[in-house]
């Protein structure tokens, strides 16, 4: 009886069966692949955020180094002529260009990749003797430089 049902192909013709099987396979494949792409996309965002955090902490450290150096000089009654710190950033992170905004109001370094809000990372920095001149820079150039402007008592970026 069971064998008869298996061998019985009267319900669906061979060509229709093939078409059905093919379309089911295609749909399944698309679902699987797209779910993998979503997963990869999320992974890309998290990698980007991790990278931004690493670079943000580096930059915050360099800012605080300059601040400390200015404080040390002030403690000795000296005058800071020039303090500059060169830093390099990769032109692309996770295959995307990105922007870095230094905000003096919120004392934060804000990273953003493209227009994606999911990748936004804010790293706070601490300064006591100097402030930062607010600026937004974009990835691309090999090197940027923090420098201390003694006239305005600000750390600027060039």
């Amino acid at each position: 009886m069971i064998r008869r049902i298996i061998d019985d192909e009267n319900a669906v013709s061979i060509s229709l069966g093939t078409i059905l099987m093919f379309s089911i396979t295609v749909v399944t494949l698309i679902v699987v692949i797209s779910s993998f792409y979503t997963m990869m996309d999320r992974h890309e965002d998290s990698v980007t955020r991790n990278q931004f955090e690493i670079h943000g902490n580096d930059l915050a450290l360099q800012i605080s180094n300059i601040d400390t150096a200015v404080q040390i000089t002030n403690n000795y009654g000296g005058k800071t002529e020039n303090i500059s710190s060169l830093f390099s950033l990769p032109p692309k992170i996770a295959d995307n260009q990105y922007s870095i905004e230094f905000s003096n109001n919120s004392k934060e370094i804000i990273f953003e990749s493209g227009d994606e809000a999911e990748t936004e990372v804010k790293v706070s920095y601490v300064t006591s003797a100097v402030n930062i001149s607010s600026k937004k820079i974009y990835s691309g150039p090999d090197h940027f430089e923090f420098y201390y402007d003694k006239d305005s008592n600000l750390i600027k970026i060039r």
Binding site: I6, M39, D58, A69, T73, E81, N82, I83, S84, S85
Partner: protein
């Protein structure tokens, strides 16, 4: 062909499965490779204490060079400069191992002001020594040419928690320096000094003339601090020595001022150029 013959359908399904597996593997592998490739390393200069140490060592070297070159009445400039040159060479060599280029530009001797850092634009109102138990030596020499005669005259004060307990105000009176001593409220004594040389603890003016500064009377038995007011209005030298409340002796002496320019460059990334005024022979408290 039999009806139950599946025409290699198992092979077809297997190939589908293999195809899927390849797709999944590629995606997973791609993710891993991608993540590890984007993980960048950082090499940020984290140590600014080397810079702080270098400044302190340089100040100590200047103090040593000064005491080494002091002949009793003046400074032997050649001995002083040789000492600093040797120091600069040694310092450059030793810092080179950590990738730092150290350069020291030696300035000229200047007459110090009574400001915190000795420069004319330094902090004018400042406390030189805190929590003094007794002062054994307090000698000053004031240059009359830089003095003023208005409401913001240069003065030295001894103060405790209650306020000023002793003060000496200095203003220009012709070519002389007028000294007016008060207990914070009332004037105790006043006189012109031709040379501006004052020995406050020995009550002497211009070297040998007696002038009662009332310093010991007003400060005896009290814990006090000494501060300079409007130090930017006068240049000159001073020496204060004594004991603090904690039992430690202190001595600060200001005869000369030198502006040292220290430049440090670490790995070509971190550059620092600073000018440090160094008070000699012993200005750092």
């Amino acid at each position: 062909m039999k009806r139950s013959d599946d025409s290699a359908q198992m092979i077809l399904i297997a190939s589908f499965a293999i195809g899927m597996a390849i797709v999944v593997l590629t995606l997973v592998l791609n993710n891993i490779i991608f993540a590890s490739n984007t993980a960048s390393e950082s090499n940020v200069e984290t140590n600014v204490f080397e810079y702080s140490n270098s400044i302190q060592v340089t100040i100590n070297a200047y103090e040593k060079a000064y005491s080494n070159a002091y002949t009793g009445s003046s400074i032997n400039k050649t001995t002083f400069n040789n000492y600093i040159d040797t120091y600069t060479g040694k310092m450059t060599e030793s810092l080179a191992f950590s990738g730092t280029v150290y350069t020291l530009e030696n300035g000229n001797f200047k007459k110090p002001y009574f400001t915190c850092n000795g420069l004319s634009d330094g902090k004018a109102n400042w406390t030189a020594i805190e929590r003094i138990n007794s002062t054994n030596k307090f000698i000053m020499a004031i240059n009359s040419t830089t003095l003023t005669n208005n409401s913001n005259n240069f003065s030295v004060e001894a103060f405790d928690q209650a306020g000023t307990i002793w003060s000496a105000e200095f203003f220009r009176s012709g070519t002389n320096v007028n000294v007016t001593v008060t207990d914070g409220v009332t004037v105790l004594n006043s006189q012109d000094s031709s040379s501006g040389e004052l020995n406050i603890t020995s009550n002497l003016i211009d070297g040998s003339s007696f002038f009662d500064f009332h310093f010991d009377d007003e400060t005896g038995g009290k814990t006090y601090s000494i501060r300079f007011i409007n130090g930017n209005k006068a240049s000159g030298t001073f020496l204060i020595a004594g004991d603090k409340v904690n039992g430690n002796a202190f001595e600060t002496e200001r005869i000369d001022l030198i502006e040292a320019k220290i430049m440090m460059n670490k790995n070509g990334k971190l550059r620092m150029d600073v000018m440090i005024p160094i008070i000699l022979p012993k200005g750092q408290l």
